[in-house]
Amino acid sequence: MRLGQRLVTGVLVVLAAVTVFPFLLVLMNAVKSPQDYTARGPLGLPGGIYLKGITDFWLRVDFGEKLFNSTVIAGSVAALAVLVSILMAYALGIGRVKGRVWIIAIFLLANLMPQETLVYPLYYLAKEAGLYDTKLAVIIIFTAIQSAFGVYLLSSVLSTFPREIVEAARIDGANRWQVLWRVVVPLSWPTLSVLLVFFFIWTWNEFFIPMIMLVSNDNQTVPVALGVLQGQRLMDVTAQSASALLGIAPAVVFFLIFQRTLTRGIAVGAVK
């Protein structure tokens, strides 16, 4: 390797290290006792492993419950939104229903809508419907929001679905419903799995609408519980680094599990 190349590689490695450094900093400080923190400051290496800060914070916010809520909400939304998307995309992309271009355009527009524009009416309607402060309300809302994107994406994917395969199945006597489940879904599984992962992570990360909808502690998701605490500015340094660590942990776990799906999804997508 030439000198110039080494230099560039070196610079890139340093920049990547700077990007990751905050994560290490959080990890390092989440295991410091308050005394340790006072003595060594945020940059010193921990004098020992002190887990009480993390367990205290875990119990204080009942983090297990928050993880459960987040998993239920994000998991239901991912599954339901993919289901709704594939049903619609089947009619639009393969069924070529009349007016499909308009329908797709409207869903594209829906996908753009800022949540700020929807949040107050949704809050009001949820109260009227008795769904305010329930996980169900958040699941319904995000199933709609995520599937607006899914319909748009899957319709264009399915519009290039080989027609012969569908027709061959029809000739063999399969009805529409069977064609969808036995032919279209299995063959589109790579795209569907990418969507599942994205919907799960997007919903997991949502904050605004879940914060408005889920006021009681028992219903809150991880970002809502942590974000609200942070917004109140009531945390001491130990609690804050514990909170950061507990917030980071699931995201990093997803990243490690889904890394290939994520980069494949993003990469495949933007390429013409």
Binding site: A16, V97, L112, L118, L195
Partner: protein, 319 residues
């Protein structure tokens, strides 16, 4: 093209389905049998997006505290909005956030992606994957958690940023980063660049794989420098990706509520207030629901207009 940030984007050309014409005999095959499949999606769309959107526009023409009957006031909220200094301030702040979320990450992402692709990936494919993952990591965090991490690092008393400055003897540079009007917006911008940088990087690296290497060889033979090749070969070749990134990041920038909520709550003194946060304050803190709805409607109008212009520009390019 996608309008969801860091989403798998369908290719723009196939977005409007265009297929070869059907065989003549099947031209009238009824598509009505497919209509039931639309029902769940349409019902959800109407209930969660269409009705609330129309309601929000309706509310923006009223004075309403969220309880009792809204009072119809016509365009009054909008008139108030256009003469409200706070609203304009929030817009100026939002432009700064768009620079931090769209413009800077696109430029940096382009340079980093090209450098990674040209220099590192040829000799060390595994290092490339690791480096790309490192830059992308902040993207998978919930924005709220990124905010907590940086709120802690930038804390004036116990934060790591000031501790570092003191360590290297720059005590006088230590600041109340998020609490001082002079530095709050810049600090938020820096955090946003950190969050955002991985997204353009990943998209651009994927785009680069599709560029014909001969173009670079020809440019190199003509004596073009690395920067010159970046500008004259890479940028035109991956302009599709650049479009996607700029649009999605700009829209994401207009929707920045969560980062502001955890980092600064719009403060100090409105220094980091955005229209998004301003509408939230009016909805839920000041019980000025009509005014909040007007702000939110303007925000939606801007986003729709922007996307429309971007898409049109892109379609022109394709032709």
């Amino acid at each position: 093209m996608t309008l969801h940030q860091d989403a798998p984007a369908p290719p723009a050309a196939t977005a409007a389905p265009s297929r070869p014409p059907r065989p003549a005999g099947k031209a009238n095959e009824p598509t009505r049998g497919y209509l039931p499949y639309l029902v769940p999606g349409v019902v959800l769309f109407v209930a969660v997006i269409a009705v609330p959107l129309v309601m929000n526009i309706g509310i923006s023409f009223t004075k309403w505290q969220g309880v009792g009957d809204p009072e119809w006031v016509g365009w009054q909220q909008y008139q108030k909005l256009f003469s409200d200094g706070t609203f304009w301030l929030s817009f100026r702040n939002n432009l700064a956030l768009i620079v931090a979320m769209a413009v800077i990450p696109t430029i940096l992402g382009l340079i980093l992606a090209s450098a990674l692709f040209d220099v590192v990936s040829k000799h060390h494919p595994r290092t490339t994957t690791t480096l790309r993952a490192a830059f992308y990591l902040p993207q998978v965090l919930p924005a709220v958690v990124a905010g907590i991490v940086w709120g802690w690092i930038l804390h004036p008393e116990y934060g790591a940023a000031n501790a570092f400055l003191r360590l290297v003897g720059l005590d006088s540079w230590a600041q109340n980063w998020l609490g001082d009007e002079k530095t709050a917006l810049l600090s938020v911008m820096a955090v946003l660049v950190w969050i955002q940088i991985g997204y353009p990087l990943v998209i651009f690296m994927a785009g680069l794989q599709r560029v014909d290497p001969q173009l670079y060889e020809a440019a190199a033979l003509d004596g073009a420098s690395w920067w010159r090749r970046l500008w004259s070969v890479t940028v035109p070749q991956i302009r599709q990706e650049i479009f996607v990134v700029l649009l999605t990041c700009t829209i994401a920038g207009l929707k920045s509520f969560d980062k502001i909520f955890v980092l600064t709550r719009g403060g100090p003194g409105g220094a980091t207030l955005t229209p998004s946060y301003f509408s939230f304050q009016n909805f839920f803190e000041k019980a000025n629901v009509g005014y909040g709805a007007a702000i939110a409607t303007i925000l939606a109008a801007i986003i729709v207009t922007l996307s429309f212009l971007f898409l049109r520009a892109q379609n022109k390019e394709d032709r």
